[in-house]
Structure formats: structure tokens, C-alpha cells
């Protein structure tokens, strides 16, 4: 079975631009969460989606948005990029929303210049 897949793996953007990151969960997993990981820190929660509905949002500005599609894949959008948005963006899928292990993708390395 394929694991969680994210695309692209690396991305370089200019300040002020917009970016879309994509995630395909493990087959059968209905919950997708997004995390931002800055170098030397643990992942920080951004969004959780379950059955196409937003179930939770972390402490991130409105420039960050996401959605989940009928096939449970997900996109994370970031508008008006700042240098501080440079990070590894991780997608995790799970069978349910809580009390269960999360399976992470390899991440998308975003660099804002």
C-alpha cells in the first residue's frame, strides 16, 4: 500500500507569492492534518480535516487555508508568502480524528526568498 504522498517535494517561491501544496492520504484514511516544521523545532499543527470538513485550526494567520476533496486528498494554500513561511510542511493521515497514530508524508520543503 502506498503511504502518504505529498507534492511537490521542494519549492522555491518569492515573497508575496501564493503556493499550493498537495497531499494524498493512505487509502481508507478519512482524516488529514497539516503541520509546519521549522528547522530545529517539532511540527506545529495548522489544520485538521475529516470527511471534507475542517475539524480544527492551529494558531496560523488567515493567509493559510486548506480543503479536503471527496477522495480525501487535501490541499494547503498559503497566500502572500513571507520569509518566515520557509519550513517543511507535513501532511498526516489517520483512520479517525483522535486516539490513533498519524502517518506522515515526506513533506514539502518550502523556501521563500
Amino acid at each position: 500500500d502506498a503511504g502518504v504522498t505529498q507534492s511537490p517535494t521542494h519549492l522555491i517561491k518569492t515573497r508575496g507569492q501564493q503556493v499550493t501544496l498537495r497531499c494524498s492520504p493512505i487509502s481508507g484514511h478519512k482524516s488529514v492534518s497539516w503541520y509546519q516544521q521549522v528547522l530545529g523545532q517539532g511540527p506545529q499543527f495548522i489544520f485538521q480535516y475529516y470527511e471534507k470538513e475542517e475539524r480544527g485550526r492551529g494558531n496560523f494567520p488567515d493567509r493559510f487555508s486548506a480543503r479536503q476533496f471527496p477522495n480525501y486528498s487535501s490541499e494547503l494554500n498559503v497566500n502572500a508568502l513571507l520569509l518566515g513561511d520557509s519550513a517543511l510542511y507535513l501532511c498526516a493521515s489517520s483512520r479517525r480524528t483522535q486516539d490513533t497514530e498519524a502517518f506522515f508524508g515526506q513533506g514539502t520543503r518550502l523556501t521563500v526568498v
Partner: protein, 113 residues
Amino acid sequence: SQKIEQNSEALNIQEGKTATLTCNYTNYSPAYLQWYRQDPGRGPVFLLLIRENEKEKRKERLKVTFDTTLKQSLFHITASQPADSATYLCALDYSSNTGKLIFGQGTTLQVKP
């Protein structure tokens, strides 16, 4: 809000010894706590989940304890090997049973042959 603290200093041990990593949290006690392994440039990989009514859990050479009085979890790797060298992350639910994980900053373990 809930906070997690892991030892930010790297842990260096000799092959064959037992590595012990610490995770301390504040505020309420979570219903469960998880440990993940992360290699450089990769997404975290789930290792163990321990629930509040479980004092200890084992998986092969791994052992996790959960002390809700001390608000602490200990993660042990027995008979450590150089292949165990990685960053280990502690994670728990952001608020009661929402499935939104918050992570510690991770502890880097280096096992020397």
C-alpha cells in the same frame, strides 16, 4: 494552553546501552501520548501510543511510561544501535480528544559504535 518540553540537548550514548528520553507537559493530562521518530529531511514515523490508564507499554526494544502525577513520559530504547540515531518527538492531543497533536521540539539521539 498545553505545552510540551523535551530535552533540547542531544543525547549521546554508546552502542548497547539504554537510551532514556524525557517528555514533560503542563496543564491537563492528555488521554494519550505518542512518540515518533524523525530522520533528517523526512516526516515523523509513529512508534508508540500510550493511554492515560496505561502505566507502561513495550514494543520490541522500545518502552514508554506515562506518569500522569508527574506529568511526564519516559521513552527507553534498550540495547541501542547506531541505526537508532534520530530525533525523537513526543506528541499529545492539543485539547481533550480533538486529535490535534502538539509536539515537543524533539531530542536528538546519537548512538556511537
